[in-house]
């Protein structure tokens, strides 16, 4: 039995580990963990246990996809006859008409139902009139128009999405890296600007985020969507890391901040003054928006 860790209840610690602690209590426990490292060690151990258990018992569909696991391994929940029955449930038909459909009251194992999928109900052929024919003829044209109208929006969002994806990948690769998170470790913004200048086209100045409690750790060159991008790494009092990746673009339209989630990592991306910005971190949406606003206000307008 675990001896009750001092200064925090086991229930709260377990809830923290299993991600079901309210945000307020979570923050309070994180503060305590900073104060008392033994709590953090215990929580870290349990987090590692969770990860190890999830890795030891992988999703059978994924596991069997590589090993050819057969019917059991398919992504859908049930075997063929069950999938058919689910369809009938959705269509409002009664499942109980099939033989051996319900489980026995004593819990004995069920014989597999042998019923084949029902043929779709016969329906009267719709009468074709002029309006229906016109609709049928105009449908491809409307589709093409919609495709053309939507393509611009789709492609522009693809572009910002690609940059946000690249920035998130860089964050995952470097920010959590204990050995070499940055290529140049400095808290001096001018030094980092000078280091970026010869390596990146039109490097944007590294913003000062000290007002938000973030300390600059350093920077590195990371891949952007099209070009090498500047990657500045910050850290707060709780040692949570935030990264700002900036890539120069050829006269992009100015866009508002858009937040994308990738697991626990949030990426706030926007375009401004000839650059694409992506702020990445493990923080709340509100905190990310506030940081993004601070960075936008500090950037030279152009």
């Amino acid at each position: 039995m675990i001896s009750a860790p001092r200064r925090a209840s086991i229930g709260n610690m377990l809830a923290y580990v299993d991600n079901c602690l309210p945000q307020q209590d979570r923050a309070a426990l994180e503060d305590r963990m900073i104060e008392y490292p033994e709590l953090k060690s215990q929580v870290d151990l349990w987090l590692l246990q969770n990860e190890a258990i999830r890795a030891a018992f992988p999703d059978p569909s994924l596991k069997a996809a590589s090993t050819g696991g057969g019917d059991f391994a398919r992504g859908s929940f049930a075997p063929d006859h069950m999938r058919w029955s689910l369809r009938t449930i959705r269509e409002g038909k009664e499942l109980d008409r099939r033989p051996h459909a319900a489980p026995g009251p004593t819990g004995e194992s069920l014989p597999v139902p042998l019923a084949a999928p029902l043929a779709p109900a016969r329906q009267a052929k719709p009468k074709r009139n002029a309006r229906a024919i016109a609709q049928w003829a105009l449908r491809p044209l409307a589709g093409a128009l919609a495709l053309w109208a939507g393509s611009a929006a789709v492609f522009s969002s693809d572009q910002s999405g690609a940059f946000a994806g690249a920035a998130t990948a860089a964050y995952r690769a470097f920010a959590d890296n204990a050995t070499h998170p940055v290529e140049i470790a400095t808290s001096d913004r001018d030094a980092l600007n000078k280091w970026f200048a010869p390596q990146i086209v039109r490097a944007a100045p590294v913003p000062d985020l000290a007002a938000s409690g973030l300390t600059l750790l350093g920077g590195r060159i990371a891949p952007g969507a099209f070009l090498p991008a500047g990657f500045a790494l910050y850290e707060n009092r709780r040692h949570e890391r935030f990264a700002l990746e900036v890539e120069a673009l050829d006269s992009p339209p100015q866009t508002d901040v858009e937040i994308r989630e990738s697991g626990a990592v949030l990426c706030a991306s926007w375009t401004e003054a000839g650059h694409s910005f992506a702020l990445i971190g493990r923080a709340s949406r509100t905190q990310m928006m506030a940081l993004a606003r601070l960075i936008r206000e500090g950037q030279p307008k152009g």
């Binding site: 039995m1 675990i2 001896s3 860790p5 086991i10 229930g11 377990l14 809830a15 299993d18 991600n19 079901c20 033994e38 060690s41 215990q42 870290d44 151990l45 349990w46 590692l48 246990q49 969770n50 190890a52 258990i53 999830r54 030891a56 018992f57 992988p58 999703d59 059978p60 569909s61 059991f72 992504g75 859908s76 929940f77 049930a78 075997p79 069950m82 999938r83 689910l86 449930i89 959705r90 499942l95 459909a101 319900a102 489980p103 819990g107 194992s109 069920l110």
Partner: protein, 200 residues
């Protein structure tokens, strides 16, 4: 997502549920982890057959309105699965002559020669009540309140089981001295001296 249609208690599974929600995959993952207990189910194939059978029965029972009335339908499905699995184990244990299925710590042995990792073996060696609590939370990703509902126990009992399960897991792994994952064996709470020594 799963939703309940106009008939109370009737489970309706939308196409999105089948394709994207992957509740079935999650249930099978949980089921396989719970069902391989080194005593009644010792090989992968038997476990798969058992889990498929039990999950099918749980789905049909959920559709027929069995299980807890309130709460997430996904939770109801897991709750029914656990209920059916316990019934299965009880029957198997009765055939075996064992009396207490919940607290019995099943001996490993049949499984020791297979390719299971030390962690898998340690999880399988946990008593059923601890194993299902831990796996429901870790693999099923249910909150503690939901897991307590699914197991039909109080929140305090669930927390006690989780703490005991995690402690037993750590103890068993450190006992086995398994090489991977090595960090799980570290007696973190007991460590008093720092790792780095100051050398003058």
């Amino acid at each position: 997502m799963i939703n309940i249609n106009a008939t109370p208690g009737r489970l309706v599974l939308t196409p999105k549920y089948e394709a994207a929600d992957n509740t079935g995959g999650l249930l099978r993952r949980f089921g396989l982890a719970v069902a391989r207990d080194n005593r009644f189910v010792c090989d992968e194939r038997s476990a798969r057959v058992l889990v498929e059978n039990l999950s099918r029965r749980a789905l049909l029972a959920a559709r027929n309105g069995e299980g807890p009335r309130q709460g997430d339908p996904r939770l109801r499905l897991f709750s029914l699965f656990i209920c059916f699995y316990r019934r299965h184990v009880r029957l198997a244990a009765a055939e075996d002559g064992a009396s207490d299925i919940a607290s019995h710590n099943y001996p490993s042995g049949a499984d020791s020669s297979d390719s299971a990792s030390p962690l898998e073996r340690a999880v399988r060696n946990l008593p059923l009540e601890l194993r299902e609590s831990l796996l429901l939370v870790v693999l099923g990703r249910f909150s503690h309140i939901e897991a307590a509902q699914a197991l039909d126990i109080s929140l305090a009992a669930l927390i006690d089981r989780l703490a005991r399960g995690r402690a037993m897991l750590a103890a068993e792994l450190s006992q086995a001295r398994a090489p991977s994952p090595h960090h799980l064996h570290r007696p973190v709470l007991q460590r008093s001296a720092p790792y780095l020594r100051l050398i003058k």
